[in-house]
Amino acid sequence: MKNAIDTYFKPVRESYKTRVSRLGKAGIFVAFIVICVILSLVTPRFLTVPNLMIIVTQVSINALLAFGVTFVIITGGIDLSLGSMVAVTGVVAALFARQDTYPVIVPVLAGLLSGVLFGAFNGFVITRSKVPPFIVTLGTMTIGRGLALILSKGRPISNLSDSFNFIGGGQVLGVPMPIIILISMFAVCSVILKKTVLGRYMYAVGGNEQATRASGIQISNIKMAVYTMSGLLAALAGIVLTSRITTGQPNAGAGFELDAIAAAIIGGTSTSGGTGTMTGTLIGALLIGVISNGLDLLNVSSYYQQVVMGVIIIGAVVLDSVNRK
């Protein structure tokens, strides 16, 4: 009964609103589907279970980073240190993951801890100083790369234990571990963003920092939280990567930050803060992964591959924004 009245009152507006939000989420999804359909048509090898598995596995590292940076961008910040965090945490994990040393939990915790510390350091500097996140994380990007090189003495760290290598290379019931990690982190991050107080505050800080402050919310806590979470997720990505290639690489992850930020923005997160969803980011990351896989499958020459990649990404987002109008 009550619902009936509500519906009666605002039939037109309601439909407007729902339509906008539905399309807002669906836009890039449509573009993504279009690209997948095209790829399925031009190459029969695209739409096979093993290939899709491979795509998702490959996407997992970028997606983990993109989840973290989505939190950050929603609050109006940016994190350029993602790639370096991948390297540092991967090297740290690898140092503890050498065969016949510690049980697998030690390198994992060490890696995660280093990511948390790195991220918290970003957050600390950003909240205590007035230095823009762009500069702070650009600085820690350089610092992190240096640290990874110092820690590893500039050399790959290999001979990691089998149990550690299982994280990136193993399967559970036929599903590769990275996919399992990806899905669980997607769930966790979605819940944090949509269902928790912290998530709500992230949107608030990014949407209007002043009004959020005037609502009695400690802005610096929220920012600390997002940069730390970004560090934690980068560490997870670093561990998965290290385990996948069974080597701690000091120069791993270079440029990953741009891909992760791109995934978030393609997925509808606005660099001005206050908007974004994990689903969008996931689709953004999948989109990049699918294009890259498709171009390899089609054996597009490496020069043209870059051109095509750029064109498709811009095209997809144009399609998205046209859809939204």
Binding site: R45, T48, P50, N51, I54, T57, Q58, I61, L149, K153, G154, R155, P156, S158, N159, G169, L241, R244, I245, T246, T247, Q249, P250, N251, A252, S292, N293, D296, L297, N299, S302, Y303, Q305
Partner: protein, 297 residues
């Protein structure tokens, strides 16, 4: 340089200063060369200033300019590019500071060259593949970062050999930017594309070779596909020993490093040196891998 010669010869005189600009200190092979240079410099009582050009020829030229402004006694350059690093050589020579190229060449001839020809390493690797496959089969190639000297030369060497074996077909080639993770993804995608059609992989460096090995092993195809790469980094040597990597090409980092310092010291002191010291490559396979393995530090 007269002055510094005098100083270095005096007992309590100033130490010789040698500036070195290296292609990339994130590359294990280069780090090894540099480590040897450092060791050798210490033995010789020379101050070695090492800077990292981070694969940028521009940066390298600038670093050499800096060395010239600092009036170092000799410069060792591990060139990023054949052409683009050449102005650095010209500038050093113009400033009358001896410059030694280590590992690879520039088009402008330096005071001395210590190293080997990258094209040759790829020839060796591809020849190994050709022989293994009996001159017939499908090959894929993983490029380094496109447009970089090492990538260009290694591609050139590989293609020379491919031309000699019409039975070998290059069915796909793509860049994995020297990176193990990227190479692994690329190999995974190729496996989806070509499956068992692939008979051999040639990767421009060991990092990528190791990535390819990993992807092939995961897909259960390693026994059917030959993988060969270049550099002989410890990981690769281990893999050769285990039989997962079929071959790699050894470049003698230690010799390159020590010979470069030797040449630098001599030139700084005004003595003459060989214009070119070529250090040959060696193909590493399971049969001879033991002699290249070092005990871990």
């Amino acid at each position: 340089s007269n002055q510094s010669t005098e100083n270095s010869q005096g007992d309590g005189g100033k130490k010789l200063v040698v500036g070195a600009t290296m292609l990339s200190m994130q590359n294990e092979f280069i780090v090894n060369v540099n480590d040897e240079m450092a060791r050798k410099a210490e033995q010789a009582g020379v101050d070695l200033i090492t800077v990292d050009a981070e694969r940028s020829a521009l940066k390298q030229v600038e670093q050499v300019e800096s060395f010239i402004a600092q009036k170092v006694d000799a410069i060792i350059m591990n060139p990023c590019e054949v052409e683009a690093s050449s102005p650095a050589v010209a500038k050093a020579l113009a400033a009358k500071i001896p410059i030694i190229n280590v590992n690879s060449e520039t088009s402008t001839k330096p005071s001395a060259f210590v190293g080997s020809d990258d094209v040759e390493s790829a020839r060796m690797a591809m020849t190994f593949i050709a022989e293994k496959l009996g001159g017939k089969g499908n090959v894929v190639m993983m490029h380094g970062y496109m447009g970089q000297a090492a990538q260009i030369k290694r591609e050139q060497g590989a293609r020379e050999i491919l031309k000699q074996y019409p039975g070998l077909k290059l069915i796909a080639h793509q860049t994995a930017e020297w990176d193990r993770a990227k190479a692994m993804s690329l190999m995974e995608n190729w496996i989806q594309s070509y499956g068992t059609e692939i008979n051999a992989v040639f990767a421009h460096n060991d990092e990528m070779g190791m990535g390819a090995v990993k992807a092939l092993t995961d897909a259960g195809l390693k026994t059917k596909v030959i993988v060969v790469s270049i550099d002989a980094i410890p990981d690769a040597l281990q893999a050769v020993q285990k039989g997962t990597l079929d071959a790699t090409v050894f470049q003698n980092a230690e010799q390159q490093g020590s010979k470069a310092i030797e040449a630098a010291v001599k030139l700084a002191k005004g003595q003459s040196v060989e214009k070119e010291t070529l250090i040959p490559f060696q193909l590493v396979t399971k049969t001879n891998v033991a002699q290249f393995m070092k005990k871990p530090d």
